[in-house]
């Protein structure tokens, strides 16, 4: 047998079956353009979001490697950087303006383009119709527009990297006056305009997507799929969409005011400013803090927009691979709901040291620490789901376990930062970087990886290579802790964020060796992500073929579709649902799909 035959199986029936399925589904003619470019099939749009997200994740990660190079080796020069970056790395040394452009773009790209569009965009599109039993989204056309607005946003953001004065460089939060005044920073010239326009396109994309997700989940569930029977992935994606729809418009309003301040002579955010160039600006009476309120009114829900889909997918994958029902389904839904509500009531915990009224601050302390309660419920429920299960460590499962571990580690430090008196010391230090990278960045990435490994067979009808997957998991898991755990100590020492060189500071120069260590690990972890990207694209064409309809023995509806479902998902009738999604290990049976009617002798829970 040839290697190809080993890997794909010599099973003729498989390809015949696949052809058979397609025959049913493809009742309209598809061209390359309608199938791969302006596709209205939710599955193809999901793949478009995913692949665009992967490209952005590569760029965003590469940026972090560049600035880690500066942080790890502040006293060295790297001539090859000048070859690539030109005057941004004069003499092989990353210039301060460019360093700040890198951190700004790294944050913007990863928060919005990768972990919002790449995560929600991919899995909401892919899973909602498949798991609730719908042929497509409520509006496939808006869905297509959602992707193409994201694409437009991507192109504009990318183009800002090539502007002479550089891309936006005031941090991903873009606080004015810094972001409003070209005279205060080079990046605030053309860079911020492009940044705002790109973000506006992004908000449109996210609203079109979000409204679609909500209406699809509410209206298009198949027969028998009541709201209490939908998988937790769908609940999580539902709350995510609600958060996005309610908070992104506020962000947009903040950006529009910023645009007015930049070009129309208004003073929403500007007051009493005398630039170093010797120019006193005419603006008086604005409040720079207003922008922070508008920004964080989205900004905080945004971290849950990033985190909830990961939580939902992890719940689903943990249960499937423990061969045991998710523990406390209703409590899981309730805690998602509680988190979604509280997400709107805690934004000012990012602003404890802005001069905020201390009483107002205390209210936000209370509400912030309240989030720890639903978070604790989720963690303990995940742990109980594992307890007395029969666990298969598929790559998706490993990433899910990794997610829980990271969510615990990063969530607990949130209790430190949410307590305003501690925040006075820890605010804007490396402690914050460690906290949000672990709990929001890496944890959500783990949720995303878990989702990709778990649903890849459904997306492409092939498996990812397992060995590369395990290498990917273990190096990333160990690496993530090695990178971010020691940063807590730098933060406790008060080391501020967004410094490109600490060597001139008596208070912060004790961590030179540690910074170098972190940089080296970061580069190794980045290299391993390239291995994943390679595995991803290679396996689309050459991966081991999926030969059974339900490879994970899962209960949910997507595994009742053909191995490579066409547009419309089910060749015949949409299946009817008779039970919740988590009947694993019930009455001695390994799993009972949602489509199976409840038997007469079945036990109740």
């Amino acid at each position: 047998m040839s290697n190809e035959a080993i890997i794909h199986g010599a099973d003729v029936h498989t390809s015949h079956d696949a052809h058979h399925d397609e025959h049913h589904v493809h009742h309209h003619k598809e061209t390359f353009i309608t199938k791969y470019v302006f596709s209205m099939d939710h599955k193809m749009i999901a793949k478009q979001f995913l692949i665009t997200g992967i490209i952005w994740a590569f760029l965003g990660g590469l940026m972090s490697v560049l600035f880690r190079l500066q942080l790890g080796y502040p006293d060295q020069t790297f001539p090859f950087l000048e070859d690539i970056l030109g005057h941004w790395a004069k003499g092989g040394k990353i210039q301060p303006e460019f360093y700040y452009a890198l951190v700004t773009m790294h944050g913007t790209v990863l928060v919005f383009f990768v972990l919002t569009a790449g995560l929600s965009g991919t899995f909401a599109n892919f899973l909602i119709p498949l798991q609730i039993g719908a042929r497509d989204m409520a509006s496939p056309f808006l869905n297509m527009l959602s992707y193409w607005f994201f694409w437009l946003a991507s192109v504009i953001m990318l183009s800002s990297l090539f502007v002479q004065t550089g891309p936006a460089s005031g941090g991903w939060t873009s606080y004015p006056p810094l972001s409003a005044l070209g005279g205060a920073s080079e990046g605030s010239k053309t860079g911020v305009d492009l940044w705002i326009i790109s973000m506006a396109m992004f908000v449109v994309s996210s609203l079109l997507g979000g409204l679609n997700y909500i209406s699809t989940i509410l209206n298009m569930r198949t027969k028998g799929m009541s709201m209490t029977r939908i998988p937790l992935t769908i609940w999580a994606l539902f709350f995510t969409a609600v958060l996005g729809v309610l908070s992104f418009p506020v962000l947009l309003s903040g950006f529009i005011l910023l645009l007015f301040d930049r070009h129309a002579g208004t003073s929403f955010y500007l007051s009493d400013i005398y630039l170093a160039s010797g120019e006193a600006l005419p603006n008086e009476g604005g409040s720079a803090i207003l922008f922070q309120h508008l920004f964080w009114f989205l900004g905080h829900p945004e971290v849950y927009i990033i985190l909830l889909p990961a939580m939902g997918m992890v719940s689903e994958i943990l249960s499937t691979n423990s061969r045991k029902p998710i523990f406390g389904y209703m409590a899981m839904v309730g805690s998602l709901f509680a988190i979604a509500i509280l997400a709107f009531l805690v934004w000012a915990h990012h602003m404890f040291v802005t001069g905020l009224n201390p009483f107002l601050g205390s209210v936000f302390v209370l509400l912030t620490l309240l989030i720890a309660v639903p978070s604790a419920i989720k963690v303990f429920n995940w742990l109980t789901t594992l307890w007395r299960g029969n666990i298969r460590f598929t790559p998706g499962m490993l990433f899910s376990i990794g997610f829980v571990s990271l969510f615990i580690s990063g969530g607990l430090t949130g209790i430190w930062l949410g307590n305003s008196s501690l925040d006075i010391h820890l605010h804007d230090t490396y402690f914050v970087i460690a906290h949000f990278h672990i709990v929001m960045g890496v944890a959500s990435f783990f949720g995303m990886f878990a989702g990709i490994y778990h649903w890849y067979p459904k997306m492409y009808g092939r498996y990812l290579n397992n060995t590369m997957a395990y290498i990917h998991f273990w190096v990333t898991m160990v690496g993530a802790y090695l990178i971010f755990w020691p940063m807590h100590y730098e933060g406790l020492a008060g080391m501020p964020r967004r410094y490109l060189d600490y060597s001139s500071w008596v208070s912060f120069n004790q961590f030179g060796g540690l910074n170098r260590f972190i940089s080296i690990v970061a580069m190794i972890v980045f290299a391993v992500q390239l291995l994943f990207v390679f595995n991803f694209f290679y396996s689309i064409f050459k991966g081991r073929r999926v030969t059974s309809q339900n490879p994970w023995g899962s209960n949910t509806l997507e595994w009742t579709t053909p191995i490579r479902p066409g547009h419309g998902n089910w060749p015949g009738e949409i299946p009817e649902v008779h039970r919740w999604a988590y009947d694993y290990g019930k009455d001695g049976r390994e799993f009972i799909p949602q489509t199976e009617p409840v038997g007469a002798n079945e036990s109740h829970h």
């Binding site: 406390g328 802005t354 201390p358 302390v365 303990f380 010391h425 397992n466 020492a493 501020p496 290299a527």
Partner: protein, 365 residues
């Protein structure tokens, strides 16, 4: 591109190729061995690695702590700082215990309940008692933390004692300007459009009438002292009035554990009591180079990382001597320069306390 770069890239590429070949080969082997057997084998290896990760991780956490504990907090140099450190220790005890407990459970469960042909899973969809326990217990601990936190928060952000020293600090790209009120104890008025670095008036103090801006001279401004270093008195509460000339900065005082944004157009304040003179801190930290540094903790542009200020904490006697040596900014920036043209008028020393201006810190026109 240099030779080393090409060399590193070649090594990377080779590493990828080898990994890829191994991965491919193991996939063939896996299929030949049978899917079930491969799954069981992978399962055992990964379960073992998970428990190894737990043990290694916990040892790593301990080692990391041993390695860095001497480099972090040091002695808190203010009364507020001591409260914050106390909070920190309480929080680390609670969250640290939860951390160890939950991580151990997570990895131990994963290891213990790894796939086995013989195991029958326990069908447990929910249990109200358990869920109630892990809703209520965290809530109780959080209440304790919130209670302590807010108790200190209100102490720290409350009003400073009446006898507190008052110093103004203003951020600009990329350094700090300090102002003392001078003999009259009153900060004179300033206006940002009156700022002129060329005329050595970096804060826009209204020393003289400025008809163009419709400003009347404020005598209280004439004895104000402007410096680039902050001198504070040991054991005497100090209130900082914080402002910014251009973008948002942040007065970060790591040894005092204090921090407050400097916002253009909106003055902010904070207060604390320095407990040790710089000299004493040199002994406490055993670092002869010790200085109280002011770091900018809010991204403010390309020089953000180098926006450094300095505080020197001294005894009252040393402070008095220092203060006598300081000249009013009006004196050095205007009068001394006029002296070269004509004899000086001694107006700087005749500043009158103006009760209206006494409360006006950053009054606009």
């Amino acid at each position: 591109m240099s030779l080393t770069t090409i060399f590193i890239l070649a090594i990377l590429l080779l590493g990828f190729l080898i990994t890829f070949q191994i991965a491919k080969a193991s996939e063939y082997v896996g299929i030949l061995k049978g899917e079930k057997k491969t799954l069981e084998q992978n399962n055992r290896i990964n379960a073992f690695l998970l428990i190894l990760f737990l043990v290694g991780g916990l040892i790593g956490v301990y080692a990391c702590h041993e390695l860095f504990k001497g480099k972090i907090l040091g002695e808190a140099a203010s009364d507020h700082g001591q409260k914050i450190d106390k909070m920190l220790y309480l929080t680390i005890i609670i969250t640290g215990s939860v951390f160890v407990l939950t991580q151990v459970l997570l990895f131990w469960f994963a290891f213990k309940y790894q796939f086995s042909e013989k195991r029958k899973v326990y069908y447990l969809p929910h249990n109200n008692t358990l869920e109630l326990i892990w809703t209520v217990v965290p809530a109780i601990f959080l209440t304790v933390l919130v209670g302590y936190g807010l108790f200190y928060w209100f102490k720290i952000t409350g009003d400073p004692p009446k006898d507190a020293q008052v110093v103004e600090i203003t951020g600009k790209q990329f350094n700090w300007i300090m102002r003392y009120p001078g003999k009259d104890g009153v900060f004179g008025r300033k206006y940002y459009k009156n700022i002129s670095d060329a005329a050595d008036n970096s804060l826009g103090l209204i020393w003289e009438d400025v008809p163009a801006l419709n400003l009347k001279a404020d005598k209280a401004a004439q004895d104000d002292i402007v410096t680039d270093k902050m001198v504070l008195i040991e054991n005497k509460p100090v209130k900082l009035i914080i402002g910014s000339r251009d973008v948002i900065h942040d007065v970060g005082l790591v040894h005092f554990r204090m921090k407050m944004d400097a916002v253009p157009g909106t003055p902010t304040t904070m207060w604390f009591t320095p407990l040790y003179t710089t000299k004493k801190m040199k002994e406490i930290t055993k670092n002869p180079d010790f200085v109280y540094e002011i770091s900018c903790d809010q991204m403010c542009g390309k020089g953000h990382y180098s926006m450094k200020g300095q505080i020197e904490v001294v005894t009252q006697a040393e402070y008095d001597i220092w203060m006598i040596s300081q000249k009013a900014k009006y004196q050095t920036a205007v009068l001394d320069k006029q002296k070269t043209d004509k004899p000086a008028t001694d107006s700087a020393k005749t500043a009158i306390v103006n009760p209206v201006a006494a409360n006006a810190v950053a009054v606009k026109k």
